[in-house]
């Protein structure tokens, strides 16, 4: 089915300039993905010799974490557990007005239009989101059995795609869900235990340094996370953090 839509899109030339909303009309079709609908708009703009709308995307199958916009007030739009690139137009109706904005968070400055700078996430990982093992030092893969359930739990946390929707959803712009997912992934496998305390402290310190807000447990992050990362991870991080600061060093 063909559909006519009105788009209110945030346009911002660069980090320094002030942005504003512009309104566009676009003809779409229910089978298109949301980003293909934006492609159509961009082709239309280019044919009018206007500048296309800049947005981030790459895999278009919900795994790279590039796509990052706020659709009608919700990071990644209206479909639960789904990235923007996997939203299809059949979730909208003919005649709808759709508002599209970039993530808004202090630690994610706008670069242009809908694109923001999320390099702060890389720096949080660099602060300690790894296991220190050089290539070639590893024992046999089966030398250390890991309980199936434990491995599954670690996977659940490791499924984070680093998209930043949790930050955009949080009223405080906190990166706790992202950071705690990594801390959990690495602490749930035995290999990650050795550096656990230091890792937690270093990653939390970097998170603060990047200007992310405090976590006040609103749960908004979990609700908008396209990979449905659980806020249990935040509780796990908090326990680990308290333990590492106040607990005895084992």
């Amino acid at each position: 089915m063909d559909m006519k839509l009105r788009l209110k899109i945030w346009r911002q030339k660069n980090a320094e300039s002030k942005g504003h909303f512009e309104t566009y009309e676009v003809n779409a079709n229910e089978h298109m993905s949301f980003l293909e609908m934006l492609d159509v708009l961009n082709e239309q703009l280019i044919s009018e010799k206007k500048e296309p709308v800049v947005f981030e995307h790459d895999c278009r199958e919900g795994i790279c974490g590039s796509c990052s916009m706020v659709i009608n007030g919700r990071p990644h739009g209206p479909v639960q557990g789904t990235t923007t690139c996997q939203v299809h137009m059949r979730t909208f109706k003919n005649g709808d007005t759709i508002t599209i904005e970039p993530y808004r968070a202090g630690a994610f400055p706008v670069i242009k239009d809908l694109s923001v700078d999320r390099s702060s996430f890389d720096r949080i990982i660099q602060a300690g989101g790894f296991i220190s093992v050089n290539t070639g030092q590893a024992p046999d893969g089966n030398a250390l059995p890991i309980e199936k359930e434990q491995a599954e739990k670690a996977f659940d946390a490791a499924a984070c795609i680093g998209c930043g929707a949790c930050v955009a959803a949080c009223p405080n712009g906190s990166a706790m869900l992202f950071t705690s997912a990594k801390v959990s992934h690495l602490s749930l496998v035995p290999q990650g235990q050795v550096e656990h305390s230091k890792r937690v402290q270093d990653m939390v310190a970097q998170m603060d340094k990047e200007g992310f807000g405090m976590c006040s447990n609103t749960g908004a992050c979990e609700a908008e996370c396209p990979k449905e990362i659980s806020i249990e991870n935040i509780a796990r991080l908090n326990r680990a953090y308290m333990g590492s600061v106040f607990g005895s060093q084992k």
């Binding site: 079709n29 082709e43 800049v54 590039s66 996997q86 046999d140 089966n142 059995p145």
Partner: protein
Amino acid sequence: MGEIKLESKVPKGELAEKWTKYRGSMNLVAPNNKRRIDVIVVGTGLAGASAAATLGELGYNVKVFTFHDSPRRAHSIAAQGGINAAKNYQNDGDSTYRLFYDTIKGGDYRSREANVYRLAEVSTEIIDQCVAQGVPFAREYGGLLANRSFGGVQVSRTFYARGQTGQQLLIGAYQALSRQASTGKCKIYNRHEMLDIVKIDGKARGIITRNLLTGEIERHSAHCVVLATGGYGNVFYLSTNAMGSNVSAAWRAVRRGALMANPCFTQIHPTCIPVSGDYQSKLTLMSESLRNDGRVWVPKKMDDVMAIREGRMNGNDVPEEDRDYYLERRYPAFGNLVPRDVASRAAKVACDEGHGVSPTGLAVFLDFAAAIERYGKAEAFSLGVANPSEAKIRELGEKIVKNKYGNLFQMYEKITGEDPYKVPMKIFPAVHYTMGGLWVDYNLETNVPGLFALGEANFSDHGANRLGASALMQGLADGYFVIPYTIGTFLSGEIRTPQITTDGPEFEEAENAVKARLERLMGVQGNQSVESFHRRLGKIVWEYCGMSRNAEGLKKGQQLIRELREEFYRDVYVPGDMNEYNPELEKATRVADFLELGETMMVDALNRNESCGGHFREEYRSEEGEAKRDDVNYTYVAAWQWTDKDEIVLHKEDLDFKNVELKTRSYK
């Protein structure tokens, strides 16, 4: 220009001992010297991230470049199914030799024995390394690593992490790289696109990049350059590759004298979600594992075909006797589990004959009804349900299928809006992987000294067809376990070379050349978008150099691409400015290079007068219509040079099979 001598540099000795002996006797770079040597790595996918991290650990100063906003977003992140390794944890007879043999055979005898053997050999270390990094591989109840099988082999050697193996392996490599970044041994340049290679006295000594946020053109020098920039599947426009995947880094190397090997060896994956309209931007893979339980068919009667296309009827309404299960009919021995290239071509034939079941006529059914019924009955039996109703059987069967393929079915429904538990899936082949790539020797060094190529960007291990779950293996083998050693063969001769300055005339020339190219593209100010050219190029390559090829079509394809290239430089419109964030300009530079690569593919496919693996020439087939190799005349790597006069010149590396006998693949 004279003949370029392609030396494979395969070490002497028994196949099984080559790598160990070579590694033990090659020249090394001492730690104190490593500190004074700079290495550039372009690309942060599995190959690039693993190489950069390991070289950093060894003490080199590594500069890492990616056009992505973070190393973690490289296309490797999207790999689903798994990674092979000859661990023989299942005790089912797997071995290094068997993995080697399967890969050589799967590649239809067009790869280099010694490289493939080494790949099989180091495969086991990859798993160990990844486990140590915390990669959450699937496990059995006893806590040991789980395996599954993939197409074309008889053992269970595929390690996996749900349907997100690539993601988990890449995160592991990314974290190893992040660790080196934190120590300062690796410096990461995100959102930097390499636009040229700089050669000094014939050796690769640096690159020219564009800072994608500011548009600034920058010079970066090093003692050597490693490219791990992925495959070129997007020359077809529509593919399962990420939108940004492109050939430019490899192509720029070609324009500086490197050779492009076997570019016509491309892999078409049989099970992807079909194109739904002209706006389509990319295609989504449905894992190969589905063919274990799904039956592929098309309606026999044209009335049914038309009714389905027009939505008056769905697949379930076609009676059993009016269905053509063409894979089971044509290949009784392997049925729905024939290798990728065979399954893809058969789907094309069915659709060419008019039996396609989507509005575009380009789709076949992948049907789970029989599996649901079979599983449902078995489950009812084991639960002790007496005389189960049809509804009960369905319910039980759907549950089993959901356990096996739940996330794939969900993805299918998200994209198509149809419920594959109730109506058969519609699938069609799509471009997935490129076996061809930069020519490299045993050291993974191109014919340009000091320029190395890893991962999908090189041609080295998969011959004319890649087996499932072997690309991840190759990327990590190259990055973690091969290049850290073989780079020493070049760098051990460079320990007295001081830091390379970027002030020399070679950098000046390369920078100016890049600027001139960008200005040319910006300057056209024509009327057609970059995207529209890319789509048209993709259609030509798909039509004439896709699932099946013939001489006449390839000549026509070459001609059409030339005309398109000429039109591109006359009428493309790139909006915005060079000195700012400008994704349209990025696309334009990539499409410009795809236009040259596309032509080279046509030339390569035309030259190869045989059918092998993914390269199917209609003129060369057996009486039953199957691919027919010509081992007498074509057991060589075709490595192409693009000369200053825009001529495409062939250089050959003969392949020497000492350990396996060349046989015809048969799946009847």
